[in-house]
């Protein structure tokens, strides 16, 4: 008791817990789509823990990288579990993040006052992509090597600064051991460190503005006499227990994949990457991982390499403009009109189509389809200011529905 007081006089742990858990009010009508934020944190934790153990056995040299991974998989007790967890964890992370972003698009969580929260989230998404890309290179299989080459060539295609920038990142004129060790440093130190910092800031921003909800109305507009939102419930215990249920459901699916189909038909670990990297043999087709496939499809859909790279970059950064492109008087899709709904539906279909097309060979038909999907993808953002204004929106209720 006195120790507790001694600590709290010097470090306000109790105040912090009160402020951010016991007296942090979240809307009581949050549905299952709101689980994906805490699940993303769970995934980050899983990746960091399993990653630390992989780090103990992995050797980042061209000679030993592939062998050290196979050694871990076979001769280290539970090494297979760590490696499959880390590999499946990356895919699970992206399923969760894409659902998290979809939730934001659906309920207008990017709208005022949550613009900065949204921008920080976009930065996090791009960081996780960089993290997964550098991690993908480390086993030094065929696809690792050739994926590194493809992305480095994109950097190299930038006019003027491209080639020196490419050499700076690669640490060499070709993809080599220097590249492997740089990517190792990025994957293990640089990106995770920045990621943790930005996650903290993302949460700070969230706790400042509060969660949005499926009705898209501000619970802070309806306070009781004590200044507590009438439609809010304390985060702890109500959402801690709900998030634990979600975490257990997630872990059941996650471990079912790890124990029964850890490569997930080549989507989590593709078969080409079970061949050690060979700079002399180009694989018949170079495929990205599924979660980066949409952007790769956009890159390939544009006939010019530099313009393709710009389109790919734009497909990520265009999300940053969402808070200002959406001019609807309501936030949530529940009260938005038919045009907004069709528009979001087409966007989701185009994104999923690009994902499938990015994994398929670039046949003439597939290229045409990828171009159509790319136009639909960008069309969603470009038409948003008009569609959201000229639409038959409904009036949201004053209080949340449950």
């Amino acid at each position: 008791m006195s120790l507790n007081k001694w600590i709290n006089d010097r470090l306000p742990i109790d105040d912090f817990v009160d402020q951010h858990l016991r007296h942090y009010y979240a809307p009581k009508n949050l549905n299952f789509l709101y689980f994906f934020g805490s699940l993303a944190m769970l995934c980050l934790g899983i990746q960091i823990l399993s990653g630390i153990w992989l780090l103990m056995y992995y050797e980042p040299t061209v000679e030993t990288a592939f062998d050290s991974v196979e050694y871990l998989m076979r001769d280290i007790p539970f090494g297979w579990l760590l490696r499959y967890t880390h590999a499946a964890g990356a895919s699970a992370f992206f399923v969760i993040l894409y659902m998290h972003v979809y939730r934001a698009l659906l309920y207008g969580s990017y709208r005022k006052p949550r613009e900065l929260l949204w921008l920080l989230g976009l930065f996090l998404l791009i960081l996780v992509m960089a993290e997964s890309y550098t991690g993908y290179i480390l086993p030094w299989g065929q696809m690792s090597y050739w994926a590194a080459k493809v992305i480095m060539n994109i950097f190299g295609s930038i006019p003027v600064i491209g080639p020196p920038l490419m050499h700076l990142i690669q640490g060499d004129y070709v993809i080599s051991e220097a590249t492997l060790q740089r990517f190792f440093a990025f994957h293990v130190v640089v990106f995770p460190m920045v990621l943790l910092g930005v996650v903290f800031i993302h949460l700070c921003a969230l706790h400042t503005v509060g969660s949005n909800n499926p009705d898209g109305i501000e619970i802070k507009d309806n306070l009781d006499k004590d200044g507590i939102p009438v439609d809010g419930v304390p985060f702890h215990p109500y959402f801690t227990i709900k998030d634990i249920v979600a975490a257990v459901v997630f872990l059941i699916i996650f471990f079912a994949v790890i124990f029964y189909d850890p490569t997930f038909h080549g989507l989590i670990l593709e078969k080409e990457n079970f061949i050690p990297a060979d700079p002399l043999v180009t694989p018949p087709e170079i495929k990205p991982t599924w979660y980066l496939a949409p952007y790769y499809a956009i890159l390939r859909a544009v006939p010019d390499q530099l313009l393709g790279a710009l389109a790919m970059l734009a497909s990520l950064f265009i999300f940053a403009f969402m808070p200002w492109l959406d001019r609807a008087p309501v936030k949530s899709m529940r009260y938005k009109g038919t045009r907004s709904r069709v528009s979001l539906f087409l966007f989701v279909v185009s994104f999923l189509s690009l994902m499938v097309l990015g994994l398929l060979p670039a046949t003439p038909t597939n290229t045409i389809l990828a171009r159509i999907a790319t136009i639909v993808f960008f069309g969603f953002f470009l038409t948003l200011p008009y569609i959201t204004v000229y639409d038959n929106h409904k009036t949201p209720p004053d209080r949340v529905r449950m």
Partner: protein
């Protein structure tokens, strides 16, 4: 308009999945897998040691008891120079099932036929013009192709290997014995590609069972908390 495009998209996805068999000229047989059967794995490992180990290594399975018991030890594994065999030395087979599939190997190893135009004297329906000679000729016997090569290429994937190959000189084994022999090897190779399989299958039910029980309790706890919130909400 848009609908048609999505139908084309769906069709192209389906077409790419169904036609993505790779280079095989025949439909692949389904390999009967029975990784839990240690006797069969050991049999396969012993066949591997007698035949495959002449040219192929099993580099990543160094400390495995089945492998050791079959006599597949590091000292006996062949080491090839990168430039030997015309630049394509026999690959290590530890991960061959990940690169190909069990079905592919099970069909490939039985689909050799006599072809005098090839340096090895044999050709293969699953991997046309392979540089790998048929190591099982004395066991399987020799097979002749019943239809012309041109017809075979036109009808890609329509036949099974047994429909277009005829045994013209029987080997030491009967057809069933040879199928079992190859299946033993394929089972061992499947095991070799991912020895964690047996452990995963053993741990899986316990981990998932534990989580299901945990789910029951945390879901009940969550519902008891949220019942209050819902009741209050609907009282207003």
């Amino acid at each position: 308009m848009a609908f048609n495009h999505w139908m084309i998209l769906l069709f192209s996805v389906w077409a790419n999945i169904t036609w993505a068999h790779g280079e095989s000229l025949v439909e692949l047989d389904h390999a009967p897998l029975n990784i839990e059967n240690r006797d069969q794995l050991l049999r396969g490992a012993k066949h591997f040691q007698q035949v495959c180990l002449t040219c192929h290594s099993m580099h990543y399975l160094r400390y495995d008891d089945i492998t050791q018991e079959a006599g597949i030890i590091k000292e006996r594994m062949p080491v090839w120079d990168d430039l030997s065999w015309g630049g394509r030395p026999p690959p290590d087979l530890s991960l061959i099932v990940k690169r190909r599939t069990a079905d592919w190997l099970y069909t490939f190893l039985r689909a050799y036929y006599i072809d005098d135009t090839r340096p090895t004297g044999v050709n293969n329906l699953v991997w046309p013009n392979t540089s790998m000679p048929n190591p099982f000729i004395s066991r399987q016997g020799t097979q002749q192709l019943l239809i012309s090569e041109a017809h075979l290429h036109d009808s890609k994937g329509k036949y099974r290997w047994s429909q277009v190959l005829k045994l013209d000189r029987p080997g030491q084994m009967s057809g069933e014995e040879f199928d079992q022999y190859i299946d033993d090897i394929v089972n061992y190779l499947v095991y070799a590609a991912d020895p964690s399989y047996l452990k995963r299958e053993a741990y899986g039910p316990w981990v998932i069972g534990y989580l299901l029980i945990l789910l029951f309790f945390v879901a009940r706890l969550s519902m008891s908390y949220w019942d209050d919130v819902k009741r209050k909400h609907h009282m207003k």
